[in-house]
């Protein structure tokens, strides 16, 4: 009982702390803005040196390196770099605040197959973790439920909003399926050794998925469609309005997942993870399957694997002609602010820097289905972009001066910058002799 009290006490403190911390969302863009003189990294592999970018009402109206006249407020960005806002797929940002505090955890609902569970309504637009993405250029994310077999339905949001509804970029964009593994970890708590062992339930588990999808499809064919929310939520998979994100690493699992999903009538499949995807590039190309590959800041999964396999994996897939983006679903949410450095690390393996940037901008936008508006710097697209003093893919250069979401100039302050300033002030005072 005493502990419960303590617990509620902590909870209370937490909630109040969170409530006061978030930066105020920026106002609508009221005048045209021109960013002048920067190196524009388009996000599609191209660069425009000494560029001029004009945007009005949240939309880029002109971009190029000559013959474009500035308009409205001019930001001199000579020697600086402009990038499209980075996009973080498959994260539970805003669904969990502090990993170890259960009261802040809304990312994993009970149940094995629950596509009807929607992340968007639990998205905390005032999350301090979400806020901390922005000073590093991560401006958009796919808010994704976790756990179970079919975890639920994600939505795509921008990271500067008063509430979840205002944050929506694309509502209920996809359903997330954790594909079973043909090998599983030993259940050490039950006396097994921890190593991988064949999963005897693999066939059964995959059939359960197939059954669910077939049932869902049959449901859609019928007329009595009012009762099963799970099946109803799944319908978008069969008409292509929703994507199916299947989380799989092994080549067998990927082949099984893609084959089964297609056979079950799913129109658009995205592989998430894809550790062994580089071994089945022809299969993926043939089936036109994009891959959201796991971030390079990971260990090889097998002792004999190349030490740098995780580093170069996105490169191997990109060079193989696969549409590939980077996600970091297995990492803590706060790590997502390192998205740019994931891409940078891949570039260090010999992938062209602009192509590496493409992995977290245009490609992620395409894979998530928001590339008509986001992911590149182009006329007619949203002015969701940022200005960095240096190379944003490198830790030393990633230093944001401005960031815009739909043309709105957002704050780059956070809970963390505030503490930094507060304590810098403490020591300033000491230096001045109090």
């Amino acid at each position: 009982m005493k502990n419960l009290k303590l617990y509620s006490c902590i909870l209370g403190m937490l909630l109040s702390a969170i409530a006061v911390a978030q930066q105020t969302p920026a106002a609508e863009q009221s005048q045209a803005i021109t960013i002048q003189g920067a190196t524009a990294h388009i996000g599609n592999g191209d660069v425009i040196e000494n560029s001029t970018i004009v945007f009005e009402d949240g939309v880029i109206t002109a971009i190029g390196n000559n013959g474009i006249s500035s308009k409205g407020k001019v930001i001199d960005a000579s020697g600086k770099h402009v990038y499209p806002g980075l996009i973080a797929p498959t994260k539970s940002l805003g669904l969990i605040e502090i990993n170890a505090v259960r009261a802040t955890d809304d990312q994993d609902e009970l149940g094995e197959m629950i596509p009807q569970v929607r992340s968007i309504i639990a998205y905390n637009a005032e999350s301090k973790v979400v806020e901390s993405m922005r000073p590093n250029g991560v401006l958009l994310g796919q808010v994704t439920p976790q756990g179970g077999r079919i975890s639920g339905t994600s939505s795509i949001v921008q990271f500067d909003a008063w509430n979840w509804e205002d944050a929506i970029v694309k509502e209920d964009d996809g359903i997330h399926l954790n594909w079973p593994s043909s090998f599983r970890r030993g259940r050490w708590w039950a006396g097994e050794s921890r190593g991988y062992r064949p999963n005897d339930d693999y066939a059964e588990d995959t059939q359960a998925v197939q059954q669910y999808l077939l049932q869902a499809q049959a449901y859609g064919d019928g007329t009595d469609t009012s009762l099963n929310e799970g099946f109803k939520a799944t319908q978008g998979l069969f008409d292509g309005s929703k994507k199916l994100y299947v989380y799989a690493h092994g080549q067998k699992e990927i082949i099984d997942a893609v084959t089964l999903a297609k056979e079950s009538g799913v129109q658009k499949v995205v592989v998430v993870g894809g550790y062994e995807a580089y071994k089945i590039i022809p299969f993926l190309k043939q089936n036109d399957i994009p891959v959201l590959v796991r971030q390079p800041h990971a260990l090889p999964r097998r002792e004999d694997d190349d030490y740098d396999l995780p580093y170069k994996l996105p490169k191997l897939l990109a060079e193989g002609g696969i549409l590939v983006g980077i996600q970091n679903e297995e990492m803590s949410n706060f790590q997502t602010r390192n998205l740019a450095f994931y891409a940078g690390h891949v570039a260090g393996q010999g992938l062209d820097k602009e192509k590496a940037l493409q992995l977290i901008t245009e490609n992620n936008a395409k894979i998530l289905g928001i590339d008509d508006t986001y992911g590149t710097l182009a006329e007619g697209k949203s002015a969701t972009l940022f200005v960095s003093n240096g190379d944003a893919l490198d830790m030393r250069g990633n230093d944001l001066e401005h960031a815009f979401i739909d043309g709105r100039s957002i704050s780059l302050e956070t809970h963390q910058t505030e503490l930094w300033k507060r304590y810098s002030e403490k020591y300033e005072r000491q230096k001045e002799g109090k």
Binding site: S182, G195, R197, G250, F334, D394, M395, T417, L419, W420
Partner: protein
């Protein structure tokens, strides 16, 4: 089975022992004082002492005489062995024969661990069961005895395999004919130990291997203290341990590295452990040899993996495949290196596999005479029972084997296993060898019958008019039963016939499918030669070379120490000189000797470093790689444990860290308790053994921890003090008070109980051991500094220290350093105020700041993490670089040796293709003391080698499966990536 029973009844009366004073009511009570002589035998009195055409004379279960000419008394039953062989029967020194299962402690539903013992009047730890008297659990197991005898064993040493101290083991003869009064040779012969906790208690301590080691050491101190009469209360465990001091100590270690761990304890306390190894000794035979211990070795060589599914195959490492390929050479390698050892059936799935496994060892070149020794004289010697068993010298027990030929020859049949003068038949000796090809005629038809296989268990093949009929044959007590099926007509024929003593044919009756009967006759046309041909096929398999460590990326030999001259590099000295362009660095005999422009070569290998960056090796102040355990969580203080005891030199993370430019790390104990264990500070000399990795004259460190982990806040455990930050302070105060008292007593010259934990805490008070303390929030950071000040010492390092920025001024004043994450936060409540500007603020206040990993992945790119201090808070690049080199070296007190590029320091260097703080940078060479432990080009070669070796081994395994060999499902290795809060 029936036959066996009959046999038992018949021979019961021959029992040569009798208990004089026991009444007998089921018949007359009479004595049998006859002798039994085995004549005309090839007798191995010992594995190397052979008598041809000799006689063995036994009486009352013992050897009376053995030799070429033995005088045989008149009252002797003589058995003419017709040239058959006699060997001393085998001894298994390590079994749990007849001990049954222990009663497992019930797992309670609650999540809180049990910290105290369940017993009263015994040692404080339930896993120390030295008072267990093996014989009390013993119940003779006839079934198991029979399978052991079939494998050739006559006596076994047995104990209850449970607990860290397991109590005594006893010696029993596998004599079914007599009772425990006779067959138990020693009630208590051995003391048993292991690193494994008892199933009989849930007591938490020790949770780790290093905890088990510490407990074993403390146990010895406590025994001595008790023995010296300093304990007024009763401790039955220690009393038993003292009473049993003269017995042989057997330690079940179970792997080559654990052999060394057990040996370390053995040497410290003069315990002369006989070590039960793991069968992997061949991988580091030099180290195993150096232990100078006697070994008992299992031969549970692994089965091949079923690699027919290429997807599944990827889960198996080349090290696992090698294990299958190499393990059968263990007995041979041990023998060649002169390490004394006995063999055991321990760890085999079933005892009947013993001979098959042994055959495999012979195929790998193991000497058969040596095998005989390992099964007879060696175990007898180790157990100090050579005057009873292990040879057929006069006066020894009449425990011997009668075989058809030389022991371990494939053709040889084991006929009888005599135990204490009692005959136990394995295969009947008088059974005629009927193997061969026959023509059988019955009912006007002619069949070809081929009989192959074992003499006692022949296999049959029946062919009629070129069609083979599936058949089954049984052969016992001169009767043959053969049935076969004409599949086409779905007809079954059954025959039964008697084998005559003489002649090449036999006859009997056939029952036809319709029930009618007729006579048959089978006449031998030729003897079977098939078996011989099969023998010739058995060729020694190709054995993969051993690498150091014996995993995919191991080296076949240690990298050579070379003098090198790095030409024209950008040199990050980390010293006042700063970063020097177009500069040369020369190293010699593992040291940096010269830094400058256009240096002369002086015989060094020149490395063109134009356009590249040369830095000191990265040092990770907070790592958990390369260790088998990280937390001893069973107590709120575990100062008695040391990570140095559990360094794992085979962790592939070492190699991967090298590939990330890391050369030195501190392996810290975890954060499960306020006072953790001692650190190991190592260099990543991939391929060296554990001792070779640990720094020479290593500075002494211990881990402390504060906050949520030590309060056990995040896993709902409510039974261990402390549960609050308030309690954490009191833990420290209490322990330091006790340490002071301890020290005072020790210095006073009075007798004192050696307490390994308080010894370590005294070192802290004396300034000989430094604290690296896991810490998050400012209140607790401040508290610990005050506690230290009260006891007049300094905290050396706060690690994690995520709110260090709030009290950086106080830290500076105290003189403590900070080793922090670059940008971690939000994973628990106490890191809510963690900010990435932390390092910069502490640095600006004059605190020595390091960036650490606490993570096997992040440590591979600490250069990137260091670069984040430039981004967050604007540290200069040179200062940023020091956070992963010179500063951690300072915090670890090794900056006189490593951490910067300075003449006289160790040549621990990294050559980068780019600016080392760049996200695009990659180490191309990582050098420790002039040896290149990582080279990007060598790495590329090794990748190809691994692919080639895998392909080879996969092919061999597929062949094994094809050839009918036993295979098992692919299974991955156990990976362990530890963090602070990993409980293991």
């Amino acid at each position: 089975m029936k036959r066996l029973l009959l046999f038992l009844v018949c021979f019961w009366s021959l029992s040569s022992f009798s208990q004089d004073y026991f009444p007998k009511n089921d018949g007359p009570k009479e004595k049998n004082t006859n002798y039994t002589a085995f004549t005309n035998a090839t007798i191995y009195v010992t594995p190397t002492e052979k008598i041809s055409k000799g006689t063995l004379l036994i009486k009352d279960g013992k050897v009376v005489s053995v030799g070429k000419s033995v005088s045989i008394p008149e009252n002797t039953v003589t058995i003419d062995l017709n040239g058959d062989y006699i060997y001393p029967s085998f001894i298994d020194a390590y079994t749990d024969f007849g001990m049954g299962k222990v009663k497992e402690a019930e797992r309670e539903g609650g999540r809180s661990a049990q910290y105290g013992p369940s017993r009263e009047g015994f040692y404080w730890n339930d896993h120390i069961l030295a008072e267990r008297n093996g014989i009390e659990n013993f119940k003779y197991d006839k079934k198991q005895a029979s399978s052991l005898r079939e494998a050739g064993f006559g006596v076994v040493n047995t104990h209850t395999m449970d607990g860290i101290a397991r109590g005594t083991g006893m010696m029993v003869a596998l004599n079914d004919k007599d009772d425990d009064a006779i067959r138990i040779l020693e009630d208590a012969l051995t003391n048993h130990f292991s690193f494994e906790k008892s199933e009989t208690s849930n007591q938490s301590y020790p949770t780790s291997l290093m905890g088990a080691m510490a407990l074993l050491r403390q146990l010895q101190h406590d025994k001595q203290w008790y023995k010296d009469g300093n304990v007024p209360t009763k401790d039955r465990t220690l009393e038993a341990l003292i009473a049993n001091e003269g017995m042989v100590n057997i330690f079940e270690a179970g792997s080559k590295d654990n052999n060394l761990r057990a040996d370390k304890i053995s040497d410290q306390f003069n315990l002369n452990y006989v070590i039960v190894g793991g069968g992997d000794e061949y991988e580091r035979i030099d180290l195993v040899k150096n232990t100078n211990a006697n070994y008992i070795l299992p031969i549970n060589f692994p089965d091949a993996y079923d690699v027919s599914d290429p997807y599944a195959e990827t889960y198996i490492t080349v090290a696992q495949m090698r294990d299958w390929n190499q393990a059968p050479m263990n007995p041979k390698v041990m023998t060649e290196n002169g390490v004394p050892f006995a063999l055991t059936t321990f760890e085999l799935d079933k005892v009947s596999d013993f001979n098959k496994k042994l055959e495999k060892a012979f195929l790998y070149g193991y000497d058969k005479t040596k095998a005989l020794e390992a099964l007879t004289s060696m175990p007898a010697k180790f157990l100090g029972i050579e005057d009873m068993v292990g040879s057929l010298k006069e006066g020894r027990y009449a425990n011997f084997l009668i075989t058809s030929g030389p022991m371990f020859d494939e053709e040889t049949t084991l006929y009888e296993n005599w135990v204490q003068g009692e005959k136990h038949v394995v295969n009947t000796r008088d059974q005629k060898d009927i193997r061969g090809n026959y023509t059988m005629t019955a009912g006007g038809k002619t069949y070809k019958v081929e009989i192959t296989g074992d003499v006692g268990k022949p296999k049959s093949k029946v062919i009629a008019a070129d069609v083979e009929f599936p058949s089954k044959m049984e052969y016992s007590q001169n009767w043959v039963r053969l049935s076969f099926t004409d599949e086409e007509n779905n007809e079954v024929y059954r025959t039964t016939g008697i084998i005559p003593k003489e002649g090449d044919s036999f006859s009997g009756k056939m029952i036809r499918p319709d029930g009618s009967e007729s006579e048959f006759t089978a006449t031998r046309t030729s003897s079977s030669k098939e078996k011989k041909d099969k023998d010739d096929e058995k060729v020694k398999p190709e054995i993969m070379p051993i690498t150091y460590p014996n995993v995919g990326y191991g080296y076949t030999k240690a990298p050579e120490q070379k003098d090198m001259l790095f030409r024209n590099a950008t040199v990050w000295t980390g010293e006042e000189a700063g970063t020097l362009e177009n500069t040369d660095v020369r190293i010699s005999y593992g040291k940096i000797v010269e830094i400058g422009k256009d240096l002369s070569r002086r015989g060094a290998t020149v490395i063109d470093a134009t356009g590249k960056h040369l830095t000191a090796g990265i040092i990770d102040e907070h790592s958990h790689i390369a260790a088998l355990s990280i937390n001893e969580a069973g107590q709120n203080s575990s100062a008695e444990v040391s990570i140095e005891d559990v360094v794992d030199p085979e962790d592939v993370s070492i190699y991967r860290n090298l590939a990330g430019g890391v050369t030195s790390i501190q392996i810290l104990h975890g954060s499960a308790n306020p006072i953790g264990g001692r650190s190991a500070i190592i260099k990543l000399k991939w391929g060296e053994d554990a001792d070779g990795l640990i720094y020479d004259n290593s500075p002494k460190f211990i881990k402390f921890a504060l906050g949520e982990n030590v309060k056990q806040s995040n896993w709902g455990s409510y039974s261990r003090f402390p549960q609050t930050r308030m309690g954490v302070e009191q833990v420290y105060v209490n322990y330091f008070n006790r340490a002071k008292e301890y020290e005072a007593k020790k210095n006073s010259g009075q007798p004192y109980r050696i307490d390994e934990e308080l010894e370590v805490l005294s070192e802290i008070l004396n300034g000989e051991r430094f604290i690296s303390c896991h810490s998050y929030v400012q209140s607790e950071i401040n508290m610990l500094m005050k506690v230290a000040e009260r006891f007049d010492f300094n905290i050396n390092t706060f690690t994690h220290i995520l709110e260090g920025y709030k009290v950086a001024d106080k830290m500076k004043e105290h003189g403590v350093g900070g080793s922090t994450f670059s940008d971690w936060w939000a994973y628990k409540y106490e890191v809510n105020d963690a900010i990435p500007y932390n390092a910069a603020i502490m640095h600006n206040q004059g605190v020595t700041v390091a960036i650490n990993s606490d993570d096997a992945e992040m440590s591979r790119r600490l250069n990137q993490e260091a670069a984040k201090t430039v981004k967050y808070g604007g540290m200069s690049e040179e200062e940023a670089w020091k956070t992963v080199t010179l500063n951690p070296a300072k915090l670890l007190h090794i900056d006189d040796r490593v951490g910067s590029i300075k003449e006289g320091k160790d040549a621990d260097l990294v050559l980068w293709n780019e600016h080392p703080l760049s996200v695009y940078a990659k180490p191309e060479k990582t050098i420790i003391e002039g040896r290149t432990y990582f080279d990007i080009e060598k790495d590329a070669e090794m990748r190809e080698d691994i692919t080639a070796e895998r392909a080879k081994l996969v092919k061999m395994m597929l062949d094994e499966k094809e050839g009918g060999g036993k295979t098992r499902k692919p299974k991955g290795t156990e990976e362990h990536y530890f963090h602070c809060n990993t409980i293991n």
